[in-house]
């Protein structure tokens, strides 16, 4: 019998031909491999969010195998001695079990929590990048909207997850959430009792939050991320202005191998950061808080950081309650309603509309694929600074009791500082950001016209001192260059224009010989020959 020869080297090619024969993949596959990615550090922020989400899915799946959301009353007899014999819900007990009696359980729980915090942080920083550089402009308004929805989905997902362990802090958070729902006019009490299956806390809310946390919201987030990325592929990346970069192209490296290798490495780094945080920094030590009981709370009850701005707005809200009578019955809108329902509503609607408002006011209907430096759009930068300041005042106020305690300030003074700051600081931030943008713009143009400041001071024969400037282009009789600003950074240091010899490689000792080459002629006019200073 003759043995059939199998040519191993030809196998992948043969397999590929077979697959293509059935799916006609050659062209679209190559097109995907050849997609060009522009390179800039600020484009990595969204990737951090994406990779944190992958870590969340991995760790969350593990946790779901051990966590039981039941609100059944049980007695704890796990290995954490201080809580042994304490009555608690099955949910809290299984969270403790997961933390102390499952190998690596605490590590994965902390990874899950840290990844969630990083996910939200990356989303916000990514949004700031997109806002301040104008990446949301036409044709990317839809992806901006998807991004905002992703933020609120992440917010909801985080809150549900935070509530699940049923420790004292998560129960307190839920208690406040129920008060927020109750405060909604007309339907509040119906919605609250329907959500909680009766009176707070009831015995179904954790089961409901659980299915929301592990199926509904993650499903929505996954779907939104798919749309987000599909739109990105379809509309292609924005890029910073630069040599050869126009509104009609994208300059960078192709997806394979250049981009793929770097992004894989970056994924590993994000994963590594979460692992290190989870191992070394304790997060949400639920065993210290004890089980939730409506009568128990401690000072410094703070939610996760991304909820703190709403906690802050609730704290700063004056005691304003609307009461009125209608047909012999009393009705009211509680004070909680404004900072926790109306404010987040505004904070959703305003950014959703922003791209359209800006286009309307600037009468700009063009497609934009080149990013703007924040300094070049002072108005938008000012508005952004205003929004960030507003957020920060609320955020800091969310921890005003801790600040009051640590810095020995009156708690009431902190509240008043927050109330006043919330009104005064944002306009101030707007003004400063606007002026700083203009200043930076002016400096860019000054350098383009006069050249780089070399730091060399000369003295003219008439006794006048002046600084030598290195022009960036041909100069006219006044020493001015007629260079146009290109929307990208202008070199402002001499080593940016090659005035310095490149450093020799090597960490402790040089690994290469200094190149024996003629030093470039000094870019500034050569110093006049030194003359002996004679004493006569």
């Amino acid at each position: 019998m003759r043995r059939r020869k199998i040519d191993v080297a030809a196998l992948p090619g043969a397999a590929a031909t077979q697959v293509d024969d059935r799916l006609t993949l050659a062209t679209p596959l190559r097109k995907a491999f050849n997609k060009v990615f522009p390179d800039h550090w600020s484009f990595l922020l969204g990737e951090i969010a994406l990779y944190s989400f992958i870590v969340l899915l991995l760790t969350g799946t593990f946790l779901a195998f051990f966590f039981d959301p039941s609100m059944q009353d049980v007695q704890y007899n796990g290995s954490f001695t201080p809580l042994r014999g304490v009555q608690m819900s099955q949910a809290y007990s299984s969270s403790l079990h997961l933390s102390f009696d499952v190998r690596g359980g605490l590590f994965l729980r902390q990874m899950h929590h840290w990844a969630a915090l990083l996910f939200m942080a990356a989303i916000i920083v990514h949004m700031l990048r997109v806002f301040f550089t104008g990446a949301f402009r036409k044709p990317r308004e839809l992806n901006w909207i998807v991004g905002i929805l992703l933020f609120w989905m992440g917010f909801l997902e985080g809150f549900c997850g935070y509530s699940l362990p049923d420790d004292a802090l998560s129960g307190t958070g839920l208690r406040i959430a129920s008060a927020i729902v109750l405060s909604i006019p007309l339907v509040g009490s119906w919605v609250a009792t329907s959500l909680f299956g009766g009176e707070f806390p009831g015995d179904v809310i954790l089961d409901r939050l659980y299915i929301t946390h592990v199926l509904l919201v993650p499903g929505a987030i996954l779907a939104l991320i798919t749309v987000h990325l599909a739109l990105l592929v379809k509309q292609m990346h924005t890029q910073w202005p630069g040599p050869g970069r126009t509104n009609r192209n994208v300059i960078g490296v192709r997806m394979f191998p250049g981009f793929a290798v770097k992004t894989t490495g970056f994924f590993m780094m994000v994963f590594a950061t979460i692992a290190l945080l989870a191992g070394v920094f304790q997060i949400n030590p639920i065993w210290l808080f004890g089980p939730y009981r409506p009568a128990v709370v401690s000072a410094a009850s703070q939610p996760d950081w991304y909820v703190m701005f709403l906690d802050g707005s609730t704290r700063l809200m004056p005691a304003w309650e609307i009461r009125f009578h209608l047909a012999g019955h009393a009705y009211m809108i509680p004070a909680v309603f404004w900072p926790t329902v109306v404010l987040p509503g505004l904070l959703t609607v305003l950014p959703l509309l922003y791209p359209f408002l800006e286009a309307r006011f600037t009468k700009d209907r063009q497609h934009h694929h080149l990013l703007q430096r924040p300094r070049d759009v002072p108005l938008r930068t000012g508005l952004g600074a205003m929004a960030v300041t507003f957020y920060l005042v609320l955020f800091v106020s969310g921890g005003n009791d801790v600040i009051a305690d640590k810095f020995n300030i009156s708690l009431n003074a902190m509240t008043w500082a927050g109330r006043i700051g919330l009104l005064i600081l944002p306009p101030l931030a707007y003004y400063l950001a606007y002026r700083i943008s203009l200043g930076l713009q002016q400096h860019d143009r000054e350098v383009l016209a006069h050249g780089i400041e070399t730091g060399i001071i000369k003295r003219a024969p008439d006794g006048r001192f002046y600084e030598v400037h290195q022009p960036l282009g041909p100069v006219d009789e006044h020493g001015h260059s007629a260079l146009e600003y290109q929307g990208w950074s202008v070199p402002k240091k001499m080593n940016r224009v090659g005035a310095l010899v490149p450093a020799i490689r090597g960490f402790f000792f040089p690994v290469e010989r200094a190149p024996e080459r003629e030093l470039p002629e000094a870019p500034i006019s050569p110093a006049p020959d030194r003359q002996e200073i004679s004493s006569h």
């Binding site: 190559r30 050849n34 997609k35 060009v36 009353d73 954490f80 102390f100 190998r103 605490l106 590590f107 902390q110 044709p139 307190t172 406040i176 008060a179 109750l182 405060s183 509040g188 009490s189 009792t193 329907s194 009766g198 009176e199 707070f200 509309q235 050869g244 192209n249 994208v250 300059i251 960078g252 490296v253 192709r254 250049g258 770097k262 490495g265 590993m268 780094m269 590594a272 692992a275 290190l276 945080l277 989870a278 191992g279 070394v280 409506p294 009568a295 128990v296 009850s301 704290r315 005691a319 309650e321 009461r323 009393a330 009705y331 509680p334 909680v336 900072p339 009791d401 509240t415 690994v511």
Partner: protein
């Protein structure tokens, strides 16, 4: 047109073409021009290239070492909780540091590989954004309008109205079973307005023991629960109450100010307030004994206990309801009745304040 012609001219089987020529042509057909492409080390095998290679290899090997350390730590390090300071407490840090190092080293290695060993490349991709050509828009628009015409909805108003009318209840059918199961009437049993307290129910501690007046220190406070089965559990989340014995002068001040429904609710110098904050429902339980203020740690609402627990600072708008108490024939504290106002956070149809001035 010209591109088409070029495609025609390009012969993929031309033996003079090397593989990169094919790569370049593939990219060109995808609208990508590879304008700059050169190896990082034009002369292979130089000392510097070897050095970068060694560094990347070293990072991978160290990563493998850290991964091994992780596996060994994961299996061998004791992890069960043991009270006191011991190595078991280091289980999570050991996992975190070893896993973090593993991933960090691999990540660094991969990035270094990409940045130092992959060829330097600059590619330019054309952007074909914007609207579809006008003829395409027209053709698709016509196709869509034709769909409407084919259905004949415009020509047959009866059908249109009947379909709409019929679909309305169908929509409700889809929503009803999904939402209907959740709906609970807040008015049934007046769960938002009532608590577990009733006439004669004892005030008990967390361990369900009743309380005698002499067991509360002067100026002191105590959290009490209704003395019924499960009275101290989350089943009666609205019922926790603060029992306070006021100093003589404070009690006199409060007695002078007792408003509306609160009259007759005190027993001698003792007063009992709901512990559930009227703002967002947290326990308003931080008691400042000197200033007679109850502070809610969630949003810093402050209540003056010598003035009907009136809110004096923060976002709360309504006083904490007062539980009418007395002492029964056995000398234990009991409730005279339920709270006379709804306990806890406000809601739309909440009955009006009667203690308000």
């Amino acid at each position: 047109m010209s591109r088409h012609a070029e495609t025609e001219q390009f012969d993929v089987d031309d033996p003079r073409l090397n593989r990169f020529d094919l790569v370049r042509e593939g990219a060109r057909r995808d609208g990508v021009r590879i304008v700059h492409y050169e190896p990082r080390f034009p002369v292979p095998g130089t000392k510097r290239e070897k050095r970068v290679e060694r560094t990347v290899a070293g990072l991978f090997l160290l990563g493998g070492l850290a991964a091994t350390a992780f596996v060994v730590g994961y299996i061998a390090w004791p992890f069960h909780y043991v009270p006191g300071a011991n190595v078991n407490k280091l289980y999570t840090p050991v996992l975190g540091v070893t896993l973090g190092l593993t991933l960090l080293l691999f990540g660094l290695g991969i990035i270094l590989w990409g940045k130092k060993l992959l060829p330097e490349e600059i590619s330019v991709q054309e952007r074909h954004g914007g609207a579809s050509p006008r003829d395409e828009q027209r053709l698709t628009g016509a196709t869509m309008m034709n769909m409407v015409d084919e259905l004949g909805i415009r020509r047959r108003p009866l059908l249109r109205r009947a379909a709409l009318l019929g679909l309305l209840p169908v929509g409700v059918v889809a929503a009803a079973p999904l939402i209907g199961g959740f709906i609970q009437d807040p008015n049934r049993g007046h769960i938002l307005a009532k608590t577990a307290w009733r006439k004669g129910i004892q005030l008990v501690r967390d361990d369900m023991t009743p309380i005698r007046p002499e067991e509360v220190s002067i100026g002191g406070q105590m959290t009490v629960f209704p003395g019924i089965p499960e009275g101290n559990t989350n089943k009666y989340g609205d019922s926790p109450t603060l029992l306070i014995q006021l100093r003589d002068e404070d009690a006199a001040a409060l007695r002078n100010k007792l408003a509306g429904v609160n009259q007759g609710s005190m027993w001698r110098n003792f007063v009992a307030y709901s512990k559930i904050c009227t703002h967002a429902g947290c326990p308003a339980s931080l008691f400042e004994q000197q200033s007679n203020i109850l502070l809610c740690p969630c949003h810093q609402s402050q209540f003056n206990i010598t003035d009907n627990a009136r809110p004096v600072f923060g976002p709360a708008t309504r006083p904490l309801p007062m539980l009418p108490i007395t002492v029964d024939s056995n000398g234990f504290f009991v409730a005279q009745s339920d709270y006379k106002q709804p306990v806890g956070p406000g809601f739309w149809e909440r009955p009006d304040e009667t203690t308000q001035d």
